[in-house]
C-alpha cells in the first residue's frame, strides 16, 4: 500500500483544485474569447491569481508570492497600461479574416492538448516525493541557496537580460524628433493646401442637460457631426448621440407652449410669415425655460 499507493493530497487541496482549476480554465477561455482587450486582461489576471494559489498549494511559497506581486501586480498592470495607451481601437471584430484559421487553431489547440494528455498519461508519474524535505530549511532559503550556488551564472545572465530588456524597451519606445516642428503658419498653409477644415474643428455639443465631450454637436439639420468629438472616443464608439432626443424635447416644448397660450395652431391653418415668426419667438421662450430649469 505504502509503496504502490499513489501520492495523494488532502481532500481540502483536492476540493480547492477542482474548484479553482475550473475557474482558472474559465478565466483562460475568457481571456481568449473576450472581445475587448481590457476584459481579456482582467480575466488573465484572475487566472494568474488562481495559479498563484496553486503554487502555494504545491509548496512553492516564494513563487506564489512572486506570482501575485510581479505578475498580477506588475506585468498585468503594465498590460492594462498599454491597453489604455494603445487599445483605443474598438474591440476586435471577431470575424476571422484568414480563411479556416479559426478552425485550424481550434483543431491544433485541441489536438495539442490531447497529445500532452497522452504524454502525461503514459509517463510514469505515480509517486510524488513531496517538498516536505526540500522545504524543511524554508522554501525561500532553499531557493536562495540554489540560485546563488548552482544557478548563479544563469541568475547573473538573467540580470543582464533584464537590463538589456529595459534598455531595449526605452530604445524602442523613445521617439527622436527628426524633423523640425511645424509652425502654426505652416500648419495653416498645409490645411489650406489639403483643402479640408480650414477653420478649427467644431466644439462638441453642449446642452444644459449633459455637456460632456462625448456628445456630438448637431448640424443645422439636427444630425450629429462626427468632427465635434474626440477621435479616441469615436474609435471606441463611445459617442452619445442626442440629436433625436433634443428634437423630441423641442417638439414637446412647442406643444406645451401652444397649449398654454391657447392660441389656435396657425401652422395648420395658414402657414405664413407670422407663423414663422411665432415659432421663432417660441424657440426663444423654450430656450428661456430650459435655462431656468437648468438653473434650479
Amino acid at each position: 500500500m505504502t509503496a504502490l499507493a499513489a501520492y495523494t493530497t488532502s481532500t481540502g487541496e483536492a476540493f480547492q483544485f477542482w474548484v479553482l482549476g475550473t475557474v482558472a480554465v474559465i478565466g483562460a477561455l475568457c481571456t481568449i474569447l473576450m472581445r475587448k482587450a481590457v476584459h481579456s486582461a482582467l480575466c488573465l489576471a484572475g487566472t494568474m491569481i488562481i495559479l498563484a494559489v496553486f503554487y502555494l498549494a504545491n509548496g512553492a511559497y516564494f513563487l506564489g508570492i512572486v506570482q501575485i506581486v510581479v505578475y498580477t501586480g506588475a506585468i498585468m498592470m503594465l498590460f492594462l497600461f498599454v491597453v489604455m495607451l494603445v487599445g483605443v481601437t474598438a474591440a476586435d471584430s471577431l470575424k476571422e479574416t484568414i480563411k479556416g484559421q479559426r478552425w485550424l487553431a481550434a483543431v491544433c489547440g485541441f489536438g495539442f492538448a490531447l497529445l500532452l494528455f497522452a504524454g502525461i498519461g503514459n509517463a510514469s508519474l505515480k509517486d510524488f516525493e513531496g517538498l516536505a524535505k526540500a522545504n524543511e530549511g524554508g522554501n525561500v532559503e532553499g531557493l536562495a541557496t540554489l540560485i546563488f550556488t548552482k544557478y548563479v551564472f544563469a541568475f547573473e545572465i538573467t540580470g543582464a537580460l533584464l537590463i538589456t530588456a529595459t534598455v531595449g524597451a526605452m530604445v524602442l519606445t523613445h521617439r527622436e524628433r527628426t524633423e523640425r516642428a511645424k509652425t502654426q503658419r505652416e500648419l495653416a498653409e498645409e490645411r489650406v493646401r489639403e483643402g479640408k477644415h480650414l477653420p478649427p474643428l467644431p466644439a462638441p455639443g453642449v446642452y444644459a442637460r449633459h455637456n460632456a465631450v462625448d456628445i456630438a454637436g448637431l448640424l443645422p439639420d439636427g444630425t450629429p457631426s462626427e468632427l465635434t468629438v474626440n477621435r479616441t472616443l469615436r474609435e471606441r464608439g463611445q459617442i452619445r448621440d442626442v440629436s433625436t432626443e433634443a428634437l423630441n424635447d423641442l417638439r414637446a416644448l412647442e406643444q406645451r407652449a401652444t397649449d398654454r397660450l391657447e392660441r389656435p395652431d396657425l401652422r395648420r391653418t395658414d402657414p405664413g410669415r407670422n407663423g414663422d415668426g411665432d415659432s421663432g419667438a417660441e424657440h426663444a421662450a423654450a430656450a428661456g425655460e430650459q435655462t431656468e430649469e437648468a438653473s434650479k
Binding site: T97, I98, Q101, L104, A105, C108, G111, F112, L115, L116, A118, G119
Partner: protein
C-alpha cells in the same frame, strides 16, 4: 624527264586559271578570257605530250601513276591524292582539254558583251580542272571529288545569268538531282570500303573477281545511280533540259561533250565490278535503253533548239550507257561513241549558239527557217554534225552507233534482240528529230521576217533578249571568226574521228588493256545490222521531210497529239517530280516546322507552365499573416510530439 609528274599539271593548269580569274578581281577583266583559254590550251598540250609519250611505250606499261600525298590517313581508311593515267583516262583527257579549249575560244566571241566574262572563264577553267581530276583520279574518293567538282562548276555555269530566276532554279535543280546520284556514289564507296577495305581502282577491281555477287550487284547499282544522276539518265534525267538555261558554250562543253558522259566513264572504269554482277549490268542496259527512247521522243517534240539537242544528248548517252551495260562487248564502243558524240554534239550546240547569236538569241526553231543563205559556215558545220549524228555512212556517228547496235544484238538471247531493236528504233527517231531540227532551222521560208513579238511561252535564253531582239526584226549574220573556227574544227572531228578510230579497230586495240574487249557472237552479221540501220535512217529522214520539209511550218506550235504534248513536258516527268517531291517535301517541312514549334517545344513549355501554375497555387499558402505561419509552426510542433511519442512507444 619523268612524265608522271606532268599528270598533276594537267589538273593544276586550269585550276590555277580558275583561282587567278576568280580571285583576280576586275583588273583582269580585259585579259581574263585569254588567260583562261591559254591555260586550258596548256593542259591540252600537256595531254598531247603525255599522249605521244604513251604511244612510245608498249601496250601494257602505258598506264602511268603519280602519287602526290596522303589525303585522309585514318586507322584502316587510307585515301590518297594520286593520279592514274591509262589509255581510258588519256582518251578523256584529250577530249576534255581539246574540246574544252575550242569552246574557250568560242566563248571569247560568244560572251563578248557580257561584263562578267572573266568570271565565266574562271568557272570554265574550274570545270576543266574538276573534270580532269575526275578522269585522272586513281581512287573512287578522289573521283568523287572531281565528280562533285564538275557538279559545282555546272551549277555555277547553268546559273551564270543569276538574275534570271529560271536560270537560278535550273542550276539548283541540276545540283540537287546530281546530289541524289552522288549519294549513290558515296554509298558505293562505303560499300567498297567495307567490302575491300579500300577504294583505289587497282585493288578494288582486282579483288572484285573473288567477291560475292550480291555485294558486287549492290555496288554496281549504286554506281549506276551515280551515273544516272551525272549522265541525265532516267529516272534522274530531268535536270538536263532545264540546264539549257546556261550559256550555249556551257551546254556544248558540259551538257553535251564532257560532264554528262562522266557516268559512262564511271561504268566503264568499274567494268570489273559490273562483269561480276550480271543483274547490275542488266539494270544498266535497261536504263540505257529507256533513256535512249525517252530522250529521242522528247527531242522530237521540243521547239527550243537547245532543248531539242538536249533531248538528243540524253538519248545518245543512253546509247553509251546501253553499250557500257553490255560488258566487255560494249565498253569500247561506248567510249568511242562518247568521243565522236563529243565532237558532233559539241559542234551542233556551237552551231545552235551561232544561230542564236545571229538571231538575237531567239531559241524557238519555229521562228527560224531558211537561214542557210545567211550563215553558211554555221550551216555547213551544223549540217556535218547532223549527218554525223544520224549516222550517215562514212561519218563518225555511223561507225560508233552502228557498232553499238551490233553489240546490242551480240548480247545474245532475248535481251539481245530487245536491246538491239530498241537501239535501231532509237536510230530511226534520231534521224527524225535531227532532220526536223535541220529543216526548221536552215530550210523552208524565213519565218523570222515580219513576225509579231516573241511568243511568250518560249522565254529566250540570253539576257540581252529583253533589251534588243524581240522588237526589232533580226538580221541574221555569220558569227565572228573566233566562233566559227571551233565549229569548223569540231566538224572536221565529227566527220573523220569515227572512221579514224574504227579502221583496223585502232580504238579497240588502244583501249584493250583497260576494257579487255571481246567480240560477242552476234546473231546477225555486221552487214545486216548496217543495212537495217540504213533503212531506219532513211525512214526517219523521209518522215521528217514529209512533215516539215514539204508543208510550211506554223509559227506557233500546234496542239499536237497526246504523246507530243507529253513529250513537250519531258513526258510529264517534271510534273511527277513537282507533285510528289516538291509539293510533298514542302508539306513535310511545313508540318515538321509546326511539330517542332508545338510538340517538341510545346512539351517543354507545357512543363514550365504547369510548374508555374503549381508554384502559383502553393504561393497562396504564403499569405504573409504571422498567425497562419504560427498555425503551421504549431501543427509542426504537434507532429513532432507525435513522432517522439511514437518513437518512445516503439
Amino acid at each position: 624527264m619523268n612524265t608522271e609528274n606532268l599528270i598533276a599539271l594537267l589538273v593544276a593548269a586550269p585550276l590555277l586559271g580558275a583561282v587567278v580569274l576568280l580571285c583576280g578581281g576586275r583588273r583582269l577583266d580585259r585579259v581574263g578570257h585569254w588567260i583562261g583559254t591559254l591555260l586550258s590550251a596548256l593542259s591540252f598540250v600537256i595531254g598531247l605530250v603525255l599522249f605521244t609519250d604513251m604511244l612510245g611505250k608498249g601496250a601494257e606499261d602505258r598506264s602511268l601513276h603519280q602519287h602526290l600525298f596522303s589525303w585522309i590517313p585514318v586507322e584502316g581508311f587510307q585515301a590518297d591524292v594520286a593520279f592514274q593515267l591509262d589509255q581510258l583516262s588519256m582518251t578523256f583527257v584529250l577530249l576534255i582539254s581539246g574540246v574544252g579549249t575550242l569552246i574557250h575560244l568560242y566563248s571569247i566571241g560568244y560572251m563578248e558583251h557580257d561584263e562578267r566574262r572573266r568570271r565565266f572563264f574562271g568557272y570554265l577553267n574550274l570545270f576543266l580542272a574538276a573534270m580532269l581530276l575526275l578522269v585522272l583520279a586513281d581512287n573512287y574518293l578522289l573521283l568523287y571529288v572531281g565528280w562533285e567538282g564538275v557538279g559545282l562548276a555546272s551549277y555555277l555555269l547553268i546559273g551564270f545569268w543569276q538574275h534570271k530566276p529560271s536560270a537560278a532554279t535550273a542550276a539548283k535543280k541540276a545540283f540537287l538531282v546530281n546530289r541524289v546520284g552522288d549519294m549513290g556514289l558515296s554509298i558505293a564507296i562505303m560499300l567498297m570500303f567495307t567490302t575491300f577495305g579500300t577504294f583505289a581502282f587497282g585493288p578494288v577491281l582486282e579483288a572484285s573477281e573473288g567477291t560475292s555477287e550480291g555485294k558486287l550487284t549492290a555496288i554496281g547499282l549504286m554506281l549506276l545511280l551515280a551515273a544516272c544522276g551525272k549522265s541525265a539518265q532516267v529516272p534522274l534525267q530531268s535536270w538536263l533540259g532545264d540546264a539549257m538555261e546556261g550559256p550555249t558554250p556551257v551546254s556544248a562543253l558540259i551538257h553535251a561533250a564532257t560532264m554528262v558522259t562522266a557516268g559512262v566513264y564511271l561504268i566503264v572504269r568499274s567494268g570489273a565490278i559490273f562483269n561480276g554482277a550480271p543483274d547490275a549490268q542488266l539494270a544498266v542496259t535497261v536504263v540505257g535503253a529507256v533513256t535512249l527512247l525517252f530522250g529521242a521522243i522528247v527531242g522530237c517534240a521540243k521547239d527550243d533548239i537547245k532543248k531539242a539537242l538536249a533531248g538528243s544528248t540524253m538519248s545518245q548517252i543512253g546509247y553509251m550507257i546501253l553499250a557500257a551495260g553490255l560488258g566487255p562487248i560494249g565498253y569500247v564502243f561506248a567510249i568511242m561513241h562518247l568521243v565522236t558524240h563529243g565532237f558532233f554534239k559539241a559542234g551542233l550546240f556551237l552551231g545552235a549558239g551561232s544561230v542564236m547569236h545571229g538571231m538575237n538569241d531567239e531559241v524557238d526553231m519555229r521562228k527560224y527557217g531558211g537561214l542557210r543563205k545567211y550563215m553558211p559556215v554555221t550551216f555547213v558545220t551544223f549540217g556535218l554534225g547532223y549527218l554525223a549524228i544520224i549516222g550517215f555512212p562514212g561519218l563518225s556517228g555511223f561507225f560508233s552507233k552502228d557498232k553499238i547496235i551490233e553489240a546490242a544484238f551480240a548480247k545474245g538471247g532475248t535481251e539481245g534482240w530487245i536491246l538491239g531493236s530498241v537501239a535501231l528504233l532509237g536510230a530511226a527517231i534520231t534521224a527524225y528529230y535531227m532532220t526536223r531540227v535541220m529543216l526548221l532551222t536552215f530550210f523552208g521560208e524565213e519565218r523570222w521576217r515580219h513576225r509579231a513579238t516573241a511568243s511568250p511561252e518560249q522565254p529566250s535564253a540570253e539576257p540581252a533578249a529583253e533589251t534588243r531582239g524581240q522588237h526589232s526584226e533580226p538580221h541574221p549574220h555569220e558569227s565572228p571568226r573566233s566562233m566559227t573556227i571551233p565549229m569548223i574544227l569540231l566538224a572536221v572531228g565529227s566527220v573523220f574521228a569515227g572512221g579514224f578510230f574504227s579502221i583496223g579497230d585502232r580504238f579497240t586495240h588502244w583501249l584493250e588493256p583497260v576494257t579487255h574487249h571481246d567480240h560477242g557472237d552476234s546473231p546477225l552479221s555486221a552487214a545486216t545490222v548496217t543495212g537495217a540501220t540504213m533503212v531506219v535512217l532513211v525512214v526517219g529522214v523521209t518522215l521528217a521531210w514529209f512533215q516539215y520539209g514539204r508543208r510550211p511550218v506554223p509559227a506557233v506550235a500546234p496542239r499536237g497529239s497526246l504523246l507530243t504534248r507529253a513529250a513537250r513536258r519531258d513526258l510529264l516527268q517534271d510534273d511527277f517530280n513537282h507533285v510528289v517531291l516538291v509539293r510533298g517535301g514542302e508539306h513535310l517541312t511545313r508540318s515538321l516546322v509546326y511539330v517542332d514549334h508545338t510538340l517538341v517545344d510545346g512539351v517543354v513549355n507545357g512543363t514550365a507552365a504547369s510548374v508555374g501554375g503549381l508554384s502559383g497555387r502553393l504561393r497562396k499558402l504564403q499569405n504573409g499573416y504571422a498567425r497562419s505561419y504560427a498555425v503551421s509552426m504549431f501543427g509542426g510542433a504537434a507532429v513532432l510530439i507525435v513522432a517522439t511519442l511514437l518513437m518512445r512507444a516503439v
